[in-house]
Symmetry: none
Subunit: 205 residues, 4 copies
DNA sequence: CATGAATGAGCCTTCATTCAT
DNA sequence: AATGAATGAAGGCTCATTCAT
């Protein structure tokens, strides 16, 4: 939560310059998720931010550019968060838990909107936009893959690592559609349930 | 004209009209999946069918109506296919396998396009459209739930049935994004892998 | 005046299909001349034609395309008109008169609007549009050049043919800004005056 | 900062302000000519000057006002230049040469941009702007007319003075489109060529 | 005087939908 | 049923202009 972009370390000649961008990105993530990128108009977005539609284009080149910025920010952040979490984990099991944890936190925590947009609106991104983000995506999934290779070596799992990784990732991402963070089940419990799926024998809670 | 899909055995509402509707629905499923409902224009759809855009509206009230028809058809069919398959399964494990199998066949088989549209474009559906399909959706997931309740009774699984059902469903649905039916792994192998996820101890093939 | 486009010899399944294009081109020539291409909005143009602004785009791809069509039509027509007139002229003097006559007729006759647009709005044309018309322009001016080469050979003029041609062309084109076809001077008199400019000794009426 | 144009000898209305205005006017003349007034944005103009777009409006009331200023300056200057030149000419022929010379120098010399804007963008000027400049324009053309009346009296030319004046003016103005000051022909030679057009018998250089 | 974020009217264009043929 | 020209309501975006700093 400390660094969401390179603007933080700027000289504060214009204290609210970055603030507008921030508010636009937050509103965009929320609206693009709720209504879908194509069905959300720039006027709606501007209204949500509290500015005029034309003013959006002082901060972003185009509506497409806003989508790209939302996605890029969250893809960078989730990768960084995962890297940090993985560093702190020592065992293979702890690392798998880190994978699940990070994805769940982004899926249901304060970055839930942007994360959902990243998952859902990939096709809405321009070809160039997709190309620009693919490297980051690859890096994130490489971390998943490395963990599952390790887990296989340790005999922790007994399925093809690639397949298992994909199945788990799908199961976790899909929680966006049914899990209610305000419901009776805590995120930690959900994390443990997901973890138990992939472990050979699953004596979890 | 012989094979436009597995729907050939439909009731013959009208002798001639059906063919055009069929071709529109198939093309719509394909295009809505490829390009997204909102980004796909009725002209594109008409071109794909080989008619003029105005002619679409002799068969469907609106573009929204076409989306609804695509979704309704696949939701009815997948539920029927699941019901049939479950009837044939006797053990709890066989029934779980039936759940996975049916979802996988629709996700990667000849109905893959419509199935993907159903999953992806739910938010594009009008409120009334969503309401009209919710009952069918509920029925489909009730079948999943009943199976997992049974499996839990049988001691086949050891997680909360609701959570486990949702995790498995997510894992299977998500295969749409990474599994390649033309790749080295067969659908049956994928089915077994998914099954092994949810069984207490996993005696995989 | 016989053939303004290739639409004339079409089968008459849609008798008014070409008519709309015709009306748009005529109105566009008039408005682009009066108000300038950039200052003329598509709504103004549509109003002048008596249709909705969106309907313009059934006949032309873009506003730029309308400008191109106006220019292309007149550039083709003036070149054809000049070619025909030159064919009928036998002497060098008669040919120079044909040059002046054709340019004057297009500048002040029924094609005055399109001709003025061609002259004035060249810079408003896209780079591709300019490239597409340059060949036609070259052909037209080649005819001018050939005539002046001949006149020089005949001793009819005594200035560098290239310079003389350009000066005369400018003098004639510029009549658009001051000559009034409804004023006391006839087009024929203007033609004779322009001709007398370039002839060595000028005893013309 | 020494030479922004031949306007250095202006009355010093304000010591410091003038420089910015000068740079704006010069850049505006260049850009309005190159890109056309309507297609040139105030941001482009500001960039060319090296200031922010908002700062333009400290020096000029509006974009229209900048166009007006460019035109007014050049119309005043060309009229003054012509008046001076005519004063120095004694014969009718010398005076006609002064007309041509002055117009050519403004069309191809350091004031070429502003002169081209004056010619091209007249229609872009507001009605009030046009009205404000018409008196100056009239004065300039009155000088042309007086010269041709004199030339006719002297028997130097044998066409209607009004028509001849307009034809010559067009021929000279139009050189903007084809004459290249850096090409093989000098401005003096062009001047002589233009002069020979209007003289009864043409004793060209 | 300069800045540059913000304005807001207006631009060109798209597109689902209608309807006379 | 099919056509395709026409509709008209938005849509994304531009840009001259303003104004607090």
């Amino acid at each position: 939560m400390t660094a969401h972009g390179p603007q933080a370390s700027e000289q504060n000649k214009r204290p609210n310059t970055g603030a507008a961008k921030r508010r636009i990105l937050d509103a965009a993530a929320r609206l693009f998720r709720q209504r879908g990128f194509a069905r959300c108009t720039v006027r709606e977005l501007a209204d949500a931010v509290g500015i005029q539609s034309g003013s959006l284009f002082h901060h972003f080149k185009s509506k497409d550019d806003i989508l790209f910025a939302v996605m890029e920010e969250v893809i960078v952040d989730i990768d960084a968060a995962l890297a940090e979490r993985l560093d702190e984990a020592t065992t293979a099991e702890a690392k798998i838990r880190a994978l699940i944890h990070t994805q769940l936190v982004f899926t249901h925590g304060p970055r839930a909107n942007a994360t959902a947009v990243l998952v859902h609106e990939w096709a809405a991104l321009s070809t160039e936009g997709q190309a620009a983000l693919l490297e980051r995506r690859r890096r994130y999934f490489d971390r998943w893959h490395a963990v599952f290779l390790l887990a296989r070596q340790d005999g922790l799992v007994n399925l093809d690592p690639t397949v298992l990784q994909q199945l788990l990732h799908g199961a976790v991402v899909w929680t966006a559609y049914w899990y209610d963070p305000d419901g009776p089940m805590t995120l930690d419990e959900l994390e443990s349930a997901a973890l138990s799926l992939v472990l050979k024998s699953a004596p979890v809670s």
